[in-house]
Amino acid sequence: MAADLSSTANSILFDRSARTVWRIGFDRWIGRLLPLLFLVAIFPILSLVYYISEKAVPTLTWNVITSTSPYGDHLGVAIVGTFELYLFATSLAVLFGLFGGVAVAEFLPESAANWVRTSANLLVGTPSVILGYMGYITFCLYFGWGLTFEAGAVTMAFFMTPYIFRTADLAFTSVPAPIREAALGSGARPSQYILKVGAPIAFPQILTGIFLALAIGVGETAPIVLTTTASVLVPQNLHSPVTVLTALIWENYAQAPSTGLQTIAFQAAFLILVIVLVLNVVVRVISTIYRKRLEGLYQ
């Protein structure tokens, strides 16, 4: 009897069946493989950064970046154009995305909300060149705006909106239900709940969403080059042509390949890389700060 018991205990504690041995071995190998997979992922990124930097940095002086002269390399012109166009586009996208997200999370009945969510997901999945073409047909042709700053900015706003919409929706729907009920149970109207309780809780997530949308948008070429035309001048007004950094790559590298122009394209690419990197760091910092502040919220 005692022998029986100890052998049962043995079989529980020291399982040496073929399957278990195989599993343990598999586990160990996966563990070794993971760092390798990490290298596979990081290598193309690093080599890309290296390749671009190598071509861009040696000739990239402060003067080149800041000069907005129509007779220069136009990098400064493109930086100003990028800044202004994306400021405009982001403001619009934040407006649409926030209102849409709040409406879907708080006001629309579930079935209608899900339709909107599905549409937003489809929009995110739409190739940007199609979106750009839609923008061209709608704004440049149908509205008769031509290839202008306004057409590019509004098209870019439509490109960015679903990203912001999705994070706003998610941020508001993930406010803990008891917190929401407590606010409404204290006699808050829905709008008061949204402004006073929902918004502070959702804010860090939404801000992250805005910056990510911006980071994705800044790197998109098609919606802009299809709806604007490049210029050697910084934008004068909404109806001006405008040059953005991605357009600079498109025009100089893909359209007119000569070594000098290619260098400008690489410099534009390098600046985009820097912008996207900075945006990502900003996102990280903001979300860390705010996560700390919300720590302990109805866990």
Binding site: P178, A183, L297
Partner: protein, 259 residues
């Protein structure tokens, strides 16, 4: 309020209230009728899932925040049906406040949490300062927080947070406060403080306390109501229900034969 005659009658009068969920045969609450007199603390006890939370949520129309539930019957607040067509649920909830199972402080300062309901109705700043101090005193939190009102409420302990939630409910001077298992997430010491807070509050408010804990009902309640499967089995003075229950189901519950 005195001299209106309403002081004498019940503050809340529940008349044949039923709650049904879509596609569920059995009602969650079945023809419940009960009155709540001024200055009383009624404990609602009953096994898990019997409908206690659903019941208190019908008393200030919180139940309407759950899609798919239908309420029938009447809930009279000072004689007026809160489910009548022209009644605004937001105003109902300002008169009939609620405290939840777990502390639900907002990620703003201690002061702003307590002032939350007052800000909604745009009280003057002096009035808010006064009402907040008073509410914090009544909830027994004042001494602990008076020097740190501007700190984030999330920095308080769980028990303090729960008393802050009670203060938030008190600050708007409701007549009725619903407490849905307010101590079930607290340790014994914090529970004891919340219980003594409730005992002082019942001098001025109608308190309706949902509790799992028969001992808690015995300690603080004037009256105990026993709910089972969505039906109100019996209600009476605490001692009667806990010591001499009339119904077999109640006795089984009290003696701990099911929970």
């Amino acid at each position: 309020m005195s001299g209106t005659g309403l002081d004498m009658g019940p503050v809340l009068s529940v008349r044949g209230v039923s709650v049904r969920a879509r596609k569920v045969e059995r009602p969650l609450l079945d023809q419940i009728s009960i009155d709540f007199a001024p200055r009383s603390l009624t404990a609602l006890v009953g096994p898990s899932g019997c409908g206690k939370s659903t019941f208190v949520r019908t008393l200030n129309r919180m139940v309407e925040l759950t899609p798919g539930l239908r309420v029938g019957g009447q809930v009279l607040y000072l004689g007026q049906d809160i489910y009548a067509r022209n009644v605004n649920p937001v105003l109902v909830r300002r008169r009939i406040g609620m405290v939840f199972q777990r502390p639900t402080v907002f990620p703003i300062s201690i002061f702003e949490n307590a002032a939350f309901g007052l800000r909604l109705v745009h009280e003057s700043n002096e009035e808010i300062d006064r009402a907040v101090a008073q509410a914090l005193q009544r909830s027994g939190l004042w001494e602990e927080v008076k020097d740190r009102l501007d700190e984030p409420a999330l920095s308080l302990s769980g028990g303090q947070q729960q008393r802050l939630c009670i203060a938030r409910a008190l600050a708007v001077r409701p007549k009725v406060i619903l407490l849905d298992e307010p101590t079930s997430a607290l340790d014994p010491a914090a529970t004891q403080r919340v219980e003594s807070t409730m005992e002082t509050l019942k001098e001025d408010f109608v308190l309706i306390l949902v509790t799992h804990n028969v001992g808690q009902a015995a300690r603080v309640a004037d009256r105990v109501a026993f709910l089972h499967s969505g039906r109100l089995i019996e209600v009476g003075p605490t001692a009667d229900i806990l010591e001499r229950p009339k119904e077999a189901l109640t006795e089984q519950f009290i003696t701990g034969r099911f929970t």
